[in-house]
Symmetry: C2
Subunit: 366 residues, 2 copies
DNA sequence: ACGCGAGCGGTAAGCGCTTACCGCAACGAT
DNA sequence: ATCGTTGCGGTAAGCGCTTACCGCTCGCGT
């Protein structure tokens, strides 16, 4: 029995194992990596020594020698205020990112990779250095939306494989996104054709987000199709967060402006804020105003009424991003510049339908 | 301008920078690490070369030389089924873990550390190897509940600093948890005294989770205090997941057993399943049956009625875990064996009160 | 004008691992 | 019995970085 917590004493190395097993370090390494063919006898001796010592090879040394860290860096953006009391505000705006990250993790695990995560603050003026730090510790990067400017991405993509999520492909990086246009078109058509709503607004997300742009464009296209006009403009500018949606509705109500029959939100978070504020003012959803989201984050089905939205295969988005990155890392070169995953309309109650969806735990109990 | 995506050509090293700047590698290193005092002139030459080349030092080499990776490993457990269709089931049972991890990340960032994340599957028979792999790539480990058995923890804690979350301290590892007993006592008293409920049940979590044990015990103590008996036993065994809560209620209803006036769930997830199933059967919350949770995960306030629960400082739990681990890594030895963070009762509607809580985005708009 | 000290900056060792290369033992073929 | 072949397993060279150590230059004091 070794003494507990004896870190501080020099950590074990492959030499210790070799000595204990009475073989050379080369043999230990070979056994540990399953290469070549050490004799079963040798193998057993080494394994025994490893077991007894509780030896774990040092990842850094391994990485240095192998030129492969088996680590994928993931950088995403968060909105947390950073003062000491910020812990009270456990914002949920990251649900989306979390699910994506889980997808990345899943994909990574299949290949023996692990996830190195880091987030950049909204107020972070130089995300460059954080990204660089992660880049140095990983074999490739997955960057969420809004982490780096396009030039920033190109710059880092020159030195290391990069996959962006919900961004734009660049000369050196690949982008993975879902089919915003198709989903938004389907949703809008549902509102316009199936429900026959004639006054509809798009409550936008970050103005410079490719996702937002694509959604807005598809929305307006579809609206124009039926010969009516979309409510847009300055007032309808949100920021992908609940607070943004809430603010827009409050502004409109405060200025005594009319509300449209349906509000199409850039994402689910925004819809949460909108529905909350509407309820505060006694405006019923969907009887007075229909509200829809985009993403289908887990909370969506817990809202009242349940949120009609467009489902993105969020987790798969992450897994795909990893797969693409992996093919770049293993030197198969850059595949197509962009991968687009399909979306689907999820009709629940907030659009005016009777729809209710079964919670996942019921669904999986086949 | 360099050619885009020229990975494959040997990556840059400190030698390239040194040559370009016309200095030695030692100087480059010194400038990059801000040690000693290279002359401003030298410094500028190096910085220029770094900028032009877009050089990022290799983390593995750095770690090997420094004996410090600046990486903290985090391992948590997830319940995802692993077949290819699993992506459809984007379970939300991990919300709790996600928020904790964000806390760890926050703490880590302050010290220049990054997060290496890995999850182990419920069906994973040997989490040992995954943990070992992470251990090799990091300076210390943070293990969530249910990842490793106590002996497993002791084993790995002998070789590397380990902090557990919601677990039990061992001879070599430190535990960080929140004050389950105090929170549960306050909650139970609210139900018993303020509302005067006389039939109450505790819907348990994993039988072997320290959190669950502490909560159950506090619950029963408090119930005994007022001289009534708690509803417990086999039927009331859940698993911390929505599915578990749903199943318990379905069982009871199916067997035509009576329901108590209040169901105290081991955590919020469980409460979600309970409330859903209750609603399915036309049983009103809180009029017919009151339901409470534990944790105060973000969804809690979106349920109908909003969930009365016990708030844990989830994010702070993570940040604290990192701080403790950091002190172990930087060789300040093992601090106290356990750190306990305070909890607080959050009264909303599901217990029978009129309470409603303001969403975080409203609260922060002071 | 010379000697000495200060401090910048270069050389090289070493962090823990993988693996090319080679020596050696054992076996089969001649 | 001898030589060639096979293949296990040891030695040592690096992977890219940090840093101890030391030589050199420059500036000051005498």
């Amino acid at each position: 029995m070794e003494t507990p917590a004896d870190h501080g004493s020099r950590p074990l190395t492959i030499y210790d194992v070799a000595r204990r097993a009475g073989v050379s370090i080369a043999s230990v390494s070979r056994v540990l990596n399953g290469r070549n063919s050490p004799r079963p006898e040798t193998k057993e001796k080494v394994l025994a020594a490893v077991r007894e010592l509780g030896f774990v090879p040092d990842g850094a040394a391994r990485a240095l020698s192998n030129r492969l860290k088996e680590v994928v860096g993931v950088v995403f953006r968060h909105a947390n205020v950073q003062d000491d009391d910020a812990f009270s505000d456990e914002d949920e705006s990251l649900l989306f990112a979390d699910v994506i990250n889980r997808g990345v993790e899943l994909g990574a695990r299949n290949k023996g990779f692990d996830l190195l995560m880091s987030s950049v603050d909204v107020y972070d003026h130089s995300p460059q250095s954080r990204v660089a730090s992660i880049a140095g510790k990983s074999d490739g990067l997955i960057l969420h939306d809004q982490v780096l400017s396009t030039v920033g991405i190109v710059r880092v993509a020159q030195r290391t494989p990069v996959v962006t999520l919900a961004g734009t492909p660049t000369s050196a990086s690949v982008n993975v996104r879902s089919d915003n246009a198709a989903g938004m078109r389907e949703l809008t058509r549902h509102l316009l054709v199936d429900h026959g709503y004639r006054t509809v607004a798009y409550l936008a997300g970050h103005a410079d987000s490719p996702d937002n742009l694509a959604r807005a464009e598809a929305f307006e296209l579809e609206v124009a199709e039926v010969g009516i006009e979309a409510w847009t403009g300055e007032v309808w500018r949100g920021n992908y967060m609940a607070a943004g949606g809430a603010k827009v509705v409050k502004d409109i109500l405060g200025r005594n402006l009319p509300l449209p029959r349906a509000i199409v939100c850039a994402n689910d978070q925004t819809a949460i804020g909108v529905m909350y504020t509407l309820a505060q003012h006694g405006i019923r959803v969907p009887q007075d105003v229909a509200v829809t989201g985009f993403d289908d984050i887990p909370v969506a089905r817990h809202l009242h009424p349940q949120l009609t939205t467009v489902r993105q295969p969020i987790q798969k988005l992450g897994a795909t991003a990893f797969d693409v990155l992996y093919s770049m890392i293993s030197g198969e070169g850059r595949p197509q510049p962009e991968v687009v995953l399909p979306t689907s309309l999820v009709v629940r109650g907030s659009c005016g339908c009777q729809g209710e969806s079964v919670p996942p735990w019921e669904a999986s109990a086949r």
